[in-house]
């Protein structure tokens, strides 16, 4: 699972609209960074298993097909674009519901996703998908230790160290940015897959392009509309999203006062207690 996100890492002053929503036009759309770590882990699974295939599922507007192509350039075999008006306005609950409907249809042996997307930073979609599909989940994955028939072994990065867990398959794995970086685009794959199109893009293309892709099924990115994945309409999009945004505030960090501390234990102790009391830490 992957998401196309606005590049919030290079935010300029026009990144937000006056209404307080993300100004998507001002920010380039990119492959969510941790989803690239996830793609690398999935490709590594394929490398080790030999016979496996890797497909990318994304929900978004037509242009989200860009990240499926990007994944194909880097090693994925193909992808699924879940797209349609019904999905607009989804919060994490509605998103994970829609994705889980698509995944029931695709029926993969293992699902790998980034820990969280940089536009929302919730880290909820992966775990919610696991819950809805009744699969075990491994979060904060940092390294693929082993994969074999029926089980996967993963090293997790935790706050105070790491742990190695074994999960039965199928399972959902969400991957940290501390995991291996994704491999680059591959020259031959780029030349091979550069004309890949999702169904709606294909319909809009000229006859020559349509004929070209028809002769090469590997260039066809599967596109699902809402109706294709048999959802309960009540749980989709805005209707299925209980999250309501009340207000968006710009948080500006300002140094109000400076406090000078010595390296003595009592000063450090006092600072610790102050920070715990103000719930800054702890």
């Amino acid at each position: 699972m992957a998401k196309q996100v606005p590049d919030t890492r290079n935010v300029g002053k026009d990144a937000m609209t006056p209404e307080g929503t993300v100004n998507r036009a001002a920010l380039p759309a990119i492959f969510n960074p941790e989803d690239l770590n996830a793609l690398e882990m999935a490709l590594e699974m394929k490398d080790r298993l030999g016979e496996a295939t890797v497909h990318v599922l994304t929900m978004g507007p037509q242009r989200a097909a860009d990240i499926i192509r990007e994944a194909m350039f880097r090693g994925a075999d193909g992808g699924y674009l879940l797209s349609g008006r019904e999905f607009a306005g989804s919060d994490t609950l509605a998103t994970s519901y829609a994705l889980s409907c698509a995944l029931r249809k695709i029926n993969p042996d293992i699902i790998v996703a980034g820990r969280q997307a940089i536009d929302g930073d919730t880290a909820q979609v992966g775990p919610q998908v696991a819950q809805k599909l009744d699969m075990p989940q491994v979060t904060y994955a940092e390294e693929l230790v082993d994969i074999k028939e029926g089980e996967v072994t993963i090293k997790r990065r935790l706050e105070r160290g790491s742990e190695v867990v074994v999960a039965p398959l199928p399972a959902v794995i969400t991957v940290n940015s501390s995991a291996k970086e994704c491999r680059p685009r591959n020259a031959k794959r780029v030349m091979k897959f550069k004309y890949a199109l999702a169904t709606s893009e294909l319909q809009a293309a000229d006859a020559k392009a349509q004929e070209f892709i028809e002769a090469r099924p590997y260039l066809h990115i599967v596109e699902y509309a809402a109706a294709d994945v048999n959802p309960d309409a009540e749980q989709l999009g805005l209707a299925g999203s209980p999250t309501k945004v009340k207000k968006i505030e710009n948080v500006v960090f300002q140094a109000k006062e400076a406090k000078r501390l010595t390296a003595e234990d009592k000063d450090i102790e006092a600072l610790m207690q102050e920070l715990i009391a103000s719930h800054t830490i702890g």
Partner: protein
């Protein structure tokens, strides 16, 4: 998110050059590969789009991986462990990234799993890699050796080695020996035929071998016992998998420290012959060296780009007397000249690469079918230009790399002399570029024939026919005047040379440089006419600089007479 292709408009300009159309036509031969390979282009537009996308990948790996590793590779360097080279850890990561991106065998045909891209695009890739880390470019750029195998070896040798290059194995060319540097005819490494094993056996030493422990090595060796000159030398391939070569030591160098420069000991190492015996130096090394010289021109251009950018950035950030130092005229002038020299190097480099592409591709075609009269003409025409332009490109780009790196430190002031900034590494790396693959003095020896035989003058006259715009007209006229100066000094030198042997040799560098300045100015002028916004300013800067250099050289020649041969004897 640095990308060394997308951030460089000048490179992109050269990819869209009108001659690329003919190059693609020759390279793709009616796009016949499209039926057999899913990554082959359907038409010219498709091919150019693929080139662009592949160069974007190279730019990405260079900007994100190789540039980031350059400093640690410079400090760590390679080591000899158990008679073999162990690369610096950053070098290993660079190779892994480039191989994951599938960038081996860039110019090789698809039947050997290559990308079938033109030499021009390979030079662009080399330029970007060198901008990221010039020393690493040596290791990666040596995949060029495969071109020589592709051109001259038998089919079974090609099938054995070329797919391995495409898969990312590295190459070396083992030419130099302790007593055979610039004078390769003195090579003594012995090759003897082993009847029983059916292979050649190599015995002896090689020195100063870049990436000497590479997977596949082209070795110049003496197959004809008792001979002492170039006619006894042949070209062989040594496969590291077979064993028999030990790395005795790695040189401790001033720069390009990540590139292992090896001393090798051959002990009955098995090898296979490339092409015909006795043609090693006369034919194959010449071809290899021409490609390698183009490679150094690309490496030098990449280094100039890096050094210019470092200086530009620093000059914008560093404040003195209450303002950024870029605000001072003396600093700005240096930066403008550095920029112009970088663009000039690139202009000459890719003009040369395009000439090479056309004649090389026609040569390949001529191996499969006989060429039409017109094609033969075309091949001869571009072959001559490529031969004339290659030493010019190597010489100018490598001298400019040194000048630009020198000025880059100057702009950094005292800080530039410290190890804290990249400019000091660039300065050290640049220093070898006008030395190896033939010193500048040897490029002059190769180029002077084209002064005498008129290759340069003819091409200058062709450039004079180019269309001018309002803004480039005056410079075009100035270049006609400078051409007349060139003709005058050539005539003077040739006439005095008749009485005083050695007189032309004495002035050869000056003559070659004058020709070079006019040629580069013309190429840049054409760019300025096509794209004023990007090129008019640097072209004006360069033509001013060229005119100064030409007048300097011409007044030296005009004030010199036959007695100078004695004076400098």
């Amino acid at each position: 998110m640095a990308n060394f292709y997308t951030d460089n408009k000048d490179l992109q300009y050269h990819l869209s050059h009108p001659m690329m159309k003919r190059i693609i036509e020759l390279k793709e031969r009616n796009f016949a590969d499209a039926a057999d390979y899913d990554y082959a282009p359907q038409d010219a537009e498709d091919a150019l789009d693929s080139y662009k996308r592949v160069l974007e990948i190279v730019g990405d790996v260079c900007g994100e991986v190789i540039a980031a590793n350059a400093e640690s590779v410079d400090h760590e360097g390679p080591r000899v462990v158990n008679d073999h080279v162990e690369y610096a850890s950053g070098t290993v990561r660079n190779l892994e990234a480039l191989n994951a991106a599938g960038l081996g065998g860039m110019t090789l045909p698809r039947k050997y799993n290559g990308l079938n891209m033109p030499v021009t695009c390979f030079a662009m890739a080399n330029e970007m890699v060198a901008r990221a880390d010039a020393g690493f470019e040596n290791i990666w750029g040596l995949q060029d050796c495969a071109e020589t195998i592709n051109e001259f070896a038998t089919e079974d040798i090609k099938e054995r080695f070329l797919p391995r290059v495409s898969a990312g194995e590295t190459c070396a060319m083992d030419l130099t020996e302790p007593d055979a540097g610039s004078d390769l005819g003195a090579v003594m490494l012995k090759a003897t035929w082993d009847e029983e094993a059916g292979v050649w056996r190599l015995n002896g030493c090689k020195r100063f071998i870049t990436n000497g422990d590479g997977d596949i090595s082209l070795v110049l060796a003496r197959t004809e016992e008792g001979t002492k000159d170039a006619r006894g030398l042949s070209m062989l391939i040594y496969d590291k998998r077979d064993g028999g070569v030990k790395v005795r030591r790695i040189e401790n160098k001033l720069g390009i420290k990540g590139s292992p420069t090896c001393e090798l000991v051959f002990n009955n190492a098995p090898a296979v012959l490339v092409g015909d015996r006795k043609m090693g130096l006369i034919k194959y090394v010449m071809s290899l060296m021409n490609a390698a010289r183009l490679g150094i021109a690309a490496q030098s251009t990449g280094l100039s780009e890096a050094a210019y950018r470092e200086a530009l950035k620093y000059a914008g950030e560093r404040e003195q007397f209450g303002k950024a130092i870029i605000e001072f005229a003396a600093v700005r002038e240096m930066l403008k000249n550095m920029e112009a020299k970088t663009i000039a190097s690139r202009a000459l480099l890719y003009e040369t690469a395009r000439f090479v592409d056309i004649y090389k591709q026609l040569t390949h075609i001529s191996h499969d079918r006989s060429l039409e009269a017109e094609e033969r003409q075309e091949m001869k025409f571009y072959n001559r230009l490529a031969d004339g332009f290659t030493p010019l490109a190597k010489m100018f780009a490598s001298e400019y790399a040194n000048e630009v790196a020198y000025d880059s430190i100057q702009i950094h002031g005292g800080s530039g002399y410290m190890k804290d900034y990249a400019c000091e590494r660039l300065y050290r790396d640049a220093r070898i570029m006008n030395i190896y693959e033939g010193t500048t003095q040897l490029q002059v020896v190769a180029a002077i024939n084209h002064v005498t035989k008129g290759t340069y003058l003819e091409q200058i006259m062709r450039y004079e026919e180019n269309e001018r715009t309002e803004a480039t007209k005056a410079m075009g006229e100035q270049l006609v005047e400078l051409r007349k100066v060139y003709e005058q000094v050539v005539a003077r030198v040739e006439s005095i040379d008749k009485e005083a042997a050695g007189y032309k040799e004495f002035h050869s560098r000056r003559l070659v440089e004058i020709a070079g300045y006019i040629i580069i100015s013309h190429i840049m002028l054409r760019q300025a006419a096509e794209c004023e916004a990007d090129y008019l300013n640097p072209t004006k800067v360069f033509v001013k600089y060229a005119a100064k250099k030409i007048s300097e050289a011409a007044s030296y020649i005009n004030a010199s007479d036959a007695s100078d041969v004695e004076l400098f004897a």
